[in-house]
Symmetry: C2
Subunit: 145 residues, 2 copies
DNA sequence: TTATAATAAGACAAAATAATCTTAAATCTT
DNA sequence: AAGATTTAAGATTATTTTGTCTTATTATAA
């Protein structure tokens, strides 16, 4: 049951790392993150570039460069992140992959999938990176393999 | 939010088609299904082979051959199908993909993911192919694109 | 101003998933 | 017995996702 792509997994873990570091105030080196989190540096760079282009982060080159939050982590929803990294229809897809599935022409799974999918969407649309970061920090939760 | 692989999508759709056809009594041609459902014949064949090898279906070659339920569709859980087609750990995976994530060493998402994942597992472990097929038949629900 | 450190961008490669093709084996019909 | 039909099995190809490598660009610092 793989819900998120590697891009989303890595992107979220990186953002949580950033919050955990200093509350998300200053530039964090991508190299440093890639090493601490056990993620390929170049791959992570591309993921964070997407988040930069989506105006969630800002980046800075040169010594002491890295990425920092452009929008406060208290205003970035988990849903915002996955929508950037996986597309806007992330929470809309049919469980059986049928293109036109919806209230008008539901597939056999539609009724119950709607519930589950809705619950996840709800969580993702009401939880911020800061919320998760707080929790992670307080209880010292894992961010790496 | 793609939860199931194409194999599972196709496999479930095929089983639902079989139930819808005659209540799952007689052999249904894979060719016929592939055409009705808009799925590649050879790919579907391989998927149904897996379900046959897992003893959920039986197959028969030659004219009027095909596949039929070995176990009654009223005794096949949705969970059984996806476990065959995607592996036994289907309902156990960490949202962030961290290998050891669990109660002892939870990731920041663990608490809420456990809930959602549990709800889905619950549905899959308490809903049979026959249940879904009944519903589909009654309301004439879609099985193809 | 030169060397160094860092991200940006895009080409390239590897791996996993999805789809197709070919040949074999089993079964039925005539 | 011969031919047609159908699944079985495995090889091959295509596509998508994931990961790596190289070169450029920007910034700092000596």
């Amino acid at each position: 049951m793989k819900v998120l792509s590697k891009s989303s997994e890595y992107g979220l873990r990186a953002l949580l790392y950033m919050v955990g570091k200093d509350g998300g105030q200053e530039f964090v080196s991508i190299r440093e993150m890639s090493e601490h989190l056990g993620i390929s540096f170049h791959f992570l760079t591309k993921i964070l570039q997407s988040l930069t282009q989506a105006n969630l982060l800002v980046s800075y080159r040169g010594p002491h460069g890295g990425v920092a939050f452009k929008v406060s982590p208290a205003q970035i929803l988990l849903g915002d992140v996955v929508r950037v990294l996986e597309g806007n229809d992330f929470f809309e897809k049919c469980l059986l992959g049928l293109p036109g599935c919806g209230e008008l022409a539901p597939c056999p799974m539609h009724a119950f999938w709607k519930e589950i999918r809705g619950a996840l969407k709800d969580e993702f649309e009401n939880t911020t990176i800061a919320d998760m970061g707080q929790k992670a920090l307080k209880r010292n939760l894992r961010l790496m393999p």
